[in-house]
């Protein structure tokens, strides 16, 4: 990819192929020497036409299609969808099913936050932290596999309930796993808040005030780390959250450090809520009957994904297939924050800033050609990462 001269500034293209983001995204940073003066984004490299695809599939088939929008927060997509469809059909899943949905959602949040912790640490060059946190993440992956049979797409939801039950043995296994993870999370909290080398990369970096976060439309932990009090689990509780409320975690810091602290504190909240549900899990059926044709109407379904508010608009024309499904994922909202917050920062901060909003990693490498005064260089994401680490050494 050719970097272009834009006035007297240079444009550094990043992506679309690189391991920093869940979706291949293309960013262009305009730099003046070391300092980023502008940024833009181009998405759509993995646009799969899922919204259009839903219009050609039955209500049941769509659970599986929509669950595959994301490989990290898969369960939360299916949950938003089934809750919306159940509302249209005028049924609600039995309490035990709602509890199991919520346990799965919180286990998913644990796996997502631990994955992010490792990724963000890796971008800063803290590979020991990365490896420890991913080792510990295996605990929760094993738990998800134990209860659902799958590590990634758990397929917990069906229209009107869930597919699997939690017996006493499985609940005990979850409790043991959580005890281990809680102890580890205390350790991570200590590392990210006291380790001076780590703080040097996070404290005061990527500062976003509450006003900025609101104007830029940030959601989830990214917004809460700037003091925005917004969490769908609390604002509009769904599934089992009305009976097992979670506490709102915010931080007024607004920098990368605050984003670490908020996500780690949310982990403790996950552990607490899962234990509370397991201790008082309602008895009863796992599913209720949902008609094959969903009555005509439209609904809006919102849930709190690990990355923030996930929005579904579902419209039925009374048939076996939906008329329209609109999905707005939390990452879409958070792109805007990267593009704005990047301005004024050093190029060396970009890897951690990008990772700070919790985009996900695929395992490709990425090439960037940087043109400086006619002489060109090839940079991969790895080069940029190393550049960032060396810059701060």
């Amino acid at each position: 990819m050719e970097a272009q001269k834009s006035g007297e500034k240079f444009v550094v293209p990043i992506g679309p192929q690189h391991p920093a983001l869940k979706e291949p995204g293309h960013f262009e940073f305009t730099v003046d020497g070391e300092i980023v003066t502008g940024a833009s984004v181009r998405l759509g490299y993995v646009h799969r036409g899922i919204e259009k695809g839903t219009e050609d599939r039955t209500w049941t088939q769509n659970i599986y299609l929509l669950e595959r929008i994301c490989g990290i927060c898969s369960h939360v997509h299916a949950t938003a969808y089934v809750l919306g469809v159940e509302k249209l059909a005028g049924v609600s899943a039995p309490p035990r099913a709602q509890a199991i949905r919520t346990v799965t959602a919180e286990l998913e949040r644990i796996h997502s936050h631990l994955l992010w912790l490792g990724v963000a640490a890796h971008e800063g060059g803290f590979d020991t932290l990365f490896m420890y946190s991913w080792r510990d993440r295996e605990t929760v992956m094993d738990l998800l596999e134990l209860i659902s049979g799958n590590r990634v797409h758990y397929s917990a939801n069906v229209l009107g309930g869930v597919k699997f039950d939690l017996d006493v043995d499985k609940m005990d296994a979850i409790r043991r796993g959580l005890d281990f993870l809680e102890e580890r999370t205390h350790h991570y909290m200590k590392v990210v808040t006291t380790d001076e080398t780590f703080l040097a990369r996070t404290r005061g970096v990527g500062l976003m005030t509450r006003e900025q976060a609101e104007t830029l439309g940030a959601v989830g932990p990214t917004a809460r780390a700037s003091g925005v009090q917004r969490d769908i689990r609390i604002d509009a509780p769904y599934a089992a959250y009305p009976d097992f409320p979670v506490q709102l975690i915010t931080d007024s810091g607004g920098d990368l450090l605050a984003r670490f602290v908020v996500r780690l504190k949310e982990l403790f909240e996950c552990y607490r809520v899962i234990r509370a549900i397991l201790d008082q899990i309602p008895e009863g059926e796992l599913t209720t009957r949902v008609p094959r044709r969903i009555p005509a109407g439209e609904t809006i379904s919102r849930v709190e994904a690990p990355r923030g508010e996930l929005f579904y608009y579902i419209k039925s024309n009374g048939g076996e297939k939906p008329e329209r499904i609109k999905v707005r994922t939390p990452s879409l909202c958070n792109w805007g924050t990267v593009v704005s917050v990047a301005v004024g920062h050093k190029l060396a901060d970009m890897p951690m800033l990008l990772a700070g909003i919790d985009p996900c990693f695929s395992c490709n490498d990425r090439m960037v050609r940087v043109n400086r005064d006619q002489s060109s260089q090839l940079w991969s994401w790895e080069d940029l990462r190393q550049y960032g680490i060396k810059y701060y050494r």
Partner: protein, 172 residues
């Protein structure tokens, strides 16, 4: 502010603009607007700091099939409409501003001057439904491939999956 008070406040704020207001359920208020009033209404909500823009969703309303067949597809162009929903949320309260534009004059004003984060949603709407957003800061392709043919809007009902792709392949 609880959800009911929030929705009542919204009703008052939007009274000068809305053609019709519908309470879908306890927590949802729909306000039908004409395209000219959209910008003013969004500004009124923003100035009163009512909630936040959660999503912009397009919904296609093609002309009924029998009409389209009778007129040999001409009415399809004339009568089809795109409905655009601007969804605002405050706590559990959900407010939807609904605007309908005909295919023949599919244009809306931008709201980016009031809510900068709307830019990605507006770009998506332009590409997927062919609604021209007047004054939106960036009009570059966001989601569709560079070689995607002009004038093919994938989320319109008349666009069949497969046909748009094959024509774009032909061009390449």
């Amino acid at each position: 502010m609880d959800s009911q008070t929030a929705l009542q406040t919204a009703e008052k704020l939007l009274e000068p603009y809305g053609m019709e207001m519908i309470r879908q359920d306890d927590l949802r208020l729909d306000v039908l607007l004409s395209p000219d009033q959209l910008h003013e209404a969004v500004k009124a909500l923003h100035d009163a700091r009512w909630g936040y823009l959660s999503a912009i969703a397009g919904v296609d309303h093609p002309a009924p099939c029998e009409d389209a067949v009778a007129s040999g597809g001409i009415d399809q162009e004339k009568k089809g409409q795109v409905e655009v929903l601007y969804v605002f949320c405050q706590g559990a309260a959900v407010l939807t501003l609904r605007v309908k534009v005909p295919y023949t004059r599919a244009e809306l004003p931008t709201v980016c001057d009031v809510i900068p984060s709307a830019t990605l949603y507006e770009r998506e709407l332009m590409e997927m439904f062919g609604v021209e957003i007047r004054g939106t800061p960036v009009k570059d392709r966001l989601l569709l491939p560079d070689e995607w043919p002009e004038g093919v809007y994938p989320l319109r009902k008349t666009t069949m999956i497969g046909t748009a792709c094959s024509s774009s392949k032909d061009e390449v």
